[in-house]
């Protein structure tokens, strides 16, 4: 009697597996791979010369600079905020803690257009501080400070959100031990807390930075849309696209896409690193 290999009870027949994998791959190919390829094909459709010419344009360089400024201000500030908020929330007990966590998450649920608009209502000509700002000749809306503020709003929760659950899970024992052994507050922070949270912190910073560089709707509301002055990279993509320079738009977009791919690669790396460390800790 021939040996019949018994079917494993917890998997599907090969044909079903094959069909499911194919459907998933077609879906991902259509929605993820096709756009990714299209960006780079579109960017180089007028040749490498035109590509380099677009990227070397003063307007492009100014857009890159403004995006770097917006991310360069908002990421460190939100990073400091994230560490402070996570410290207060994870290491102490106080009334209204869960409510505070919900408030920190608020910016995620607000539409980008509204995220920019709320600053117009505060700093705009008809806003709360508008008359005072005009009298003192301070320009925020339609200028660079508005773009920085809008970027701060949309990237607000990223670091805090990553650190709060991490520090809650780590508990208070190690820091308490450091204090008992006579470490000062800062010694404890630099030598105990920071090494414990560094991967989570890095993860949050990577996500925060990606969003800061890629934000479009919120900065679109508060930008003056002057090419070379108040256009970030994403706004410049729009300006080129609407001026019927599709290839130029895709050239700038390809830089942003490259940054997005870098973000994903770094995220994978940090995730793997974190997983290996957790594994090592379990074994020791």
């Amino acid at each position: 009697m021939p040996y019949i290999r018994p079917k494993r009870p917890t998997t599907e027949p090969a044909a079903v597996r094959w069909i499911l994998i194919s459907v998933a791959l077609v879906f991902l190919g259509l929605f993820l791979v096709a756009p990714l390829v299209a960006v780079f094909v579109g960017a180089f459709s007028n040749g490498i010369g035109y590509y380099l010419h677009t990227l070397n344009n003063p307007a492009t360089l100014s857009a890159i600079k403004l995006t770097a400024i917006a991310a360069g201000v908002s990421v460190p500030l939100n990073c400091i905020f994230g560490v402070a908020a996570a410290w207060a929330i994870a290491k102490f007990d106080f009334f209204g803690k869960n409510f505070l966590i919900t408030l920190i998450d608020l910016p995620f649920s607000v539409s980008p257009v509204i995220s920019g608009f709320v600053y117009v209502l505060v700093f705009g000509a008809q806003g709360w501080l508008g008359p005072w700002l005009i009298a003192h000749n301070i320009k925020i809306i339609f200028e660079v400070p508005g773009i920085i503020l809008a970027t701060m709003f949309v990237t607000f929760p990223f670091v805090a959100r990553e650190l709060i659950p991490l520090m809650q899970a780590q508990g208070r024992a190690e820091e308490e031990a450091a204090r008992t052994l006579g470490a000062s507050g800062w010694q404890m922070f630099w030598r105990v807390t920071l090494p414990n949270i560094k991967w989570g912190l890095l993860y949050g910073v990577i996500l925060c930075n990606a969003r800061a560089m890629g934000e479009f709707g919120a900065v679109s509301v508060v930008s003056g849309h002057i090419v070379g002055q108040t256009d970030t990279m994403t706004l410049y993509v729009q300006a080129l696209y609407e001026n019927y320079d599709q290839t130029g738009a895709f050239a700038v977009a390809s830089v942003l896409t490259f940054l997005a791919l870098m973000t994903i690669a770094m995220k994978e790396w940090v995730e793997r690193k974190g997983a290996t460390l957790a594994e090592a800790e379990r074994k020791s």
Partner: protein, 277 residues
């Protein structure tokens, strides 16, 4: 000598909580409060004319309808993708797993111009659909496509960890008791992952409702036809019609806060459901 009950071993409570509240207030709460206050300055008539105009009603219909459909498609295909990524081995699996995050990382404006060019009548995908009489770019279907793209990671990333931790002994038990795979999936696996699936659906829906950047390029943004609510608000801002923009923003804020509460509750249910089983 008695230790005060409130004495804490760890330092920095006042400093960090103080800074947290100060920064939260300055960046998030005061600007949001401005929207509430400005809405309060409107008369009822102004408010109603803005939020219940035919253009606004058409925009709500499209925003909610397209977001719902996009979240539904993402729930079905996201479950499938999560399942395939967790359970099967195939070539390119790790790359696909990493790529699922692309809609999170890619700026929405880039997604917008790319999808618009893919689905235009002469685009790579659009040219196959055009002979069938299906127009995607610059129509309501285009809005749906953009919203599906930006919501894609949510369901995959909420369902995936639950499937990874899933105890396969339960499936073995089901098989021993005579259930076939399909029945096991419907009766055993699906009920277990349902809270995670619903959470992912709600997250994708909430994200889609507020989306602006990707839609504005692939839609023709014609009022009453292909205009979503965020684009309508932007439109009012460009016309310096701040009262109307404020009123519409207020409606959207109310909707997103309700959704935020619902999602928080879902996540709580999700953890509890999972811990119980």
């Amino acid at each position: 000598m008695s230790l005060s009950r409130h004495r804490r071993v760890l330092p920095g409570f006042r400093l960090t909580l103080g800074f947290t509240l100060f920064y939260l207030g300055l960046v998030v709460l005061i600007p949001l409060a401005a929207t509430f206050a400005k809405t309060g300055e409107l008369t009822w008539h102004q408010f109603l004319r803005a939020v219940a105009s035919p253009t606004a009603l058409a925009a709500y219909r499209l925003s909610f309808g397209a977001s719902f459909l996009a979240a539904l498609v993402n729930a079905i295909f996201g479950l499938l993708v999560a399942w395939v990524l967790v359970r099967y081995k195939f070539w390119g699996k790790r790359l696909m797993d990493a790529l699922v995050d692309l809609p999170f990382a890619l700026p929405t404006a880039v997604a917008g111009i790319t999808l618009a060019s893919l689905y235009a009548e002469n685009g790579w995908i659009g040219r196959w659909l055009a002979p069938m009489g299906i127009k995607v770019a610059y129509t309501q279907i285009g809005v749906f496509v953009a919203l599906t793209f930006i919501g894609l990671p949510f369901v995959v990333r909420t369902v995936q960890p639950v499937l990874e931790d899933f105890d396969q002994e339960i499936e073995e038990a089901a098989a021993t008791l005579g259930a076939n795979r399909f029945k096991t999936f419907c009766r055993v696996i699906l009920p277990m992952i349902f809270p995670a699936l619903l959470t992912g659906f709600a997250l994708a829906f909430a994200r889609a409702l507020g989306e602006y950047g990707s839609v504005v390029f692939i839609s023709s943004n014609i009022p009453m036809k292909t205009q979503i609510v965020p684009v309508l608000i932007m439109n009012k801002l460009e016309q310096f019609d701040y009262p109307a923009a404020t009123a519409l923003a207020m409606v959207m804020l109310a909707v997103s806060f309700t959704l935020l509460l619902a999602i928080n509750w879902l996540q709580w249910w999700n953890t509890r459901h999972y811990e119980q089983t």
